[in-house]
Chain length 134, copies 2
Amino acid sequence: MEVRAESARMVAEGPCAGYPAEHVEFIRQVLDRVGDKWSLLVIASLEAGSLRYTDLLRIVPGISQRMLTLTLSQLRQDGLIARAAYAEVPPRVEYSLTPLGRGLYDIVRSLVGWAADHHDEIRENRARAAATPK
Amino acid sequence: MEVRAESARMVAEGPCAGYPAEHVEFIRQVLDRVGDKWSLLVIASLEAGSLRYTDLLRIVPGISQRMLTLTLSQLRQDGLIARAAYAEVPPRVEYSLTPLGRGLYDIVRSLVGWAADHHDEIRENRARAAATPK
DNA sequence: CGGGATCCATTAGGATACTG
DNA sequence: CAGTATCCTAATGGATCCCG
């Protein structure tokens, strides 16, 4: 069987069948970002308005300087947040959500909502699984 | 300031403010599962119907035995998939989505849809960020 | 066939110290 | 204030072998 090589080549088999091959890797990246430890917490923190570096460091519970810097850098590269630096003394930098970032957060909120809704159900399942003697 | 200690204690500050403290850890767990490398691929593979262990090993692109076993175990503990073993020779084991698992997949699909919709936009942002000389 | 158990490489991420 | 740079540990995940 022959497949045309130009334009959108589709994934032939597996869970991603039907998606353009190029998108699959990208979707994986988005999911990684969603699942990583800090990105969503930072985005959620910025939802109410722009914040400074040290504000985020204080507000996001448990984040280290290193991870905050790293996370902000990734989110900015993806265009999910915007960085504004003001040439003052002392220097001031403000981070804010872009429309894109806000859109992602909206989607994720529905996921968090689902998690909250089914919290008890999953907890029961886990308890039952843990209680299984063998 | 004093806060009542009994019943649902709320997170006072940060991005999780207003959520019951107990739920925050749980939501993190769900997001970890969503972001992990294989869970969603396995769930997506099972969407069309139940599959056997070796089928999944073949269908999910690149997964190792170890990770498939691990992933299946976690998903089963959470009640997202069901395992049915038939005492035959050779043995046969079938995995299938539970209603809970299907519900999660529906939510995640909207996330994947968002990713696909904004694929170009994010790619442009990344390209621009990469091109920035300084 | 459907896994466990083990070993190993890669990576994520925390603590800390330093800089413009 | 807003980061960088360095070091180090813990977790993730792949490859392989074995077993009922």
